[in-house]
Amino acid sequence: MTIEPLLDVRGLVKEFPQSGGIIPGRLSPIRAVSGVDVQVLPGQTHGLVGESGCGKSTVARTILQLDKPTAGEAIFEGRDLFKLNKSDLREARKDIQIVFQDPFSSLNPRMTVQSIIEEPFVIHGGAHKSEREAEVKRLLKQVGLNPEHAARYPHQFSGGQRQRVGIARALALQPKLIIADEPVSALDVSIQAQVVNLMRDLQRELNVSYLFIAHDLAVVRHISDVVSVMYLGKIVETGSRDDIYENPTHPYTQALLSAVPEPDPILERMRERRVLVGDLPSPADPPSGCRFRTRCWKATELCAEEEPALEDPGVGHSVACHHPEVEVAISSR
């Protein structure tokens, strides 16, 4: 790729100390994220998918330094975010914003929508009160809300509308990157589509980049240019959207795709399912070798001994598996 990435995360590791032991520090730490690389190109969307607890939110939170990373670097416009001092970090935060999953807990219930959306301006100084008001009106309009409702409190809005308020707040400082941590997971299908469309329109209009986190592969497909699939703190497959959905190569990606039910009874009954056995192992005690081997139908002895590297096995995108095999996706049948 010739385009310089806007955000280039390399070797990100985040460990949480395990609590609950009698002697503090005796239990080995939980490696929620263990060596993740993610690149976001300008004006594009990188989708990050994986099951609950695989570390997606932790990736988002460490990039924003809401949690301190254990190791790794995050180069944003040539500077490592993890090495910035306090005031540089504050500056950098203008350019990177976050949208959260839960539209009910991500807005301060005691603040009006006006003060929620203008908070970024207040924090970063500048704009006069009347300018701020005009700006909030403009932002509300931009995300499809009635500007007259600026004086309302968050509880006076529905879930989808609150999520729009959250997006308006994130857009306020004209960031270059928005990290969206499951922005539509808590919404109904009919509202979810509104928010996904809004995010796509805003991207086209403002050329903003997204790191779009979700557990729903179908939603990710509709918004991402590049997709990474995460399992137990590691990325197991990464590639362009078509690579992942048309030529899934890692067994986990294949299982995930086959587990998504299609809203079509005839197609559903024709389809073969790959039903995985068992649950996600604990990140505190990941399996040796390939982390997926306890649920993988292709696992061999090699998989238990050696960890597969994330590299291109000749399919045009990177896969971390000892036995990669393209499985023709249902769409191309």
Binding site: L66, K94, Q97, I98, H149, Y153, G166, R169
Partner: protein
């Protein structure tokens, strides 16, 4: 509605379960409880008494009565009568007026002591809860230390440290009580801060680059204050009694200040001859504390989602 397409979609926004506010819900619950109204009545009565005692004692003490409280030595230590509803004290002062005027000092001490506890508690609780780490350990362990100290012993130590040659003053007692009360508020507030700190809107503010002060005061405080308010309302009731206890033990307010504690303490020595001297200030004390304690209990239930 012949043209339903023109309906303002935003106008139907208010979705019912979400239309409610925290305070609105609390009020809806409170107004249906008779105990809330009883405690409100008690509090209003006693606070009114502290602010404008003249409303309760009529006629107000005039210039011909410099001690201010209808004292005629000849009438000393009479029992209740139609002229002196609560009888008279050792100096022949009307005891009803005395007890009524005593509300001011008692409540002022309780109020300021509570304010000290709350302010100190919230400041230290914020620091401990928000920053965590070593600061948290220091603050929490200090609070634990205070807990281990018996209250009265602590009060005696603090009061003797504060008292100068000129004798004790009201603010000494206030400070002493406040000083001993903060550890419980710290504990309580710290744990609420820990909960609220993890919520996404606090994280969102952080991601915007908000400073610690802004996060602590604008985002955490308004959402974490409710349990502390409840606690301090309940403890107001307790503090009124603490002041009385200290006075009773002779380490409380200066003897010349008119407070329920002083009256009770003085009456204790004459309980055989003049039980009314003990009875009336004690009754006021009990009803005033009861008012605050009941109010606190009601607030707690109204704020607790489990009672909704």
């Amino acid at each position: 509605m012949t043209e339903p397409k023109t309906v303002d979609l935003e106008a139907v926004a208010a979705i019912d379960p979400a239309r409610r506010t925290f305070w609105g819900d609390a009020w809806r619950i409170l107004r249906r409880r008779w105990l809330f109204w009883v405690s409100l009545f008690l509090i209003v009565t006693f606070v009114g008494m502290a602010i404008v005692p003249g409303l309760y004692v009529w006629p107000s003490p005039g210039p011909d009565d410099p001690s201010g409280l209808y004292c005629f030595l000849a009438d000393a230590r009479q029992g209740p009568s139609s002229e002196h509803w609560f009888g008279t004290d050792v100096q022949g002062c009307d005891y009803y007026a005395q007890v009524t005027y005593g509300a001011r000092v008692s409540l002022v001490v309780a109020l300021f002591a509570t304010m000290i506890t709350v302010v100190v508690g919230i400041v230290l609780g914020s620091l401990a809860g928000y920053y965590g780490g070593a600061l948290d350990s220091v603050i929490s362990r200090t609070a634990d230390g205070f807990f281990a100290l018996p209250y009265l012993v602590g009060a005696i130590i603090v009061l003797s440290a504060l008292t100068t040659q000129e004798g004790r003053e009201i603010w000494h007692v206030t400070v002493a009580i406040g000083f001993l009360g903060w550890p419980s508020v710290v504990r309580l507030y710290r744990s609420t801060v820990l909960q609220v700190k993890g919520l996404e809107y606090v994280q969102a503010a952080k991601a915007l680059g908000a400073g610690d002060g802004r996060i602590i005061f604008r985002h955490i405080l308004p959402n974490a204050i409710a349990p502390t308010l409840v606690y301090s309302t309940i403890s107001m009731g307790g503090i009124i009694s603490v002041e009385a206890t200290l006075s009773f033990l002779g380490i409380g307010l200066p003897i010349d200040s008119i407070s329920w504690g002083n009256m009770i303490s003085e009456a204790g020595t004459r309980i055989q001859q003049s039980p009314h001297l003990l009875f009336f200030p004690s009754a006021y004390l009990i009803f005033a504390s009861l008012g605050f304690v009941l109010m606190g209990e009601q607030l707690r239930e109204a704020f607790d989602p489990r009672f909704r």
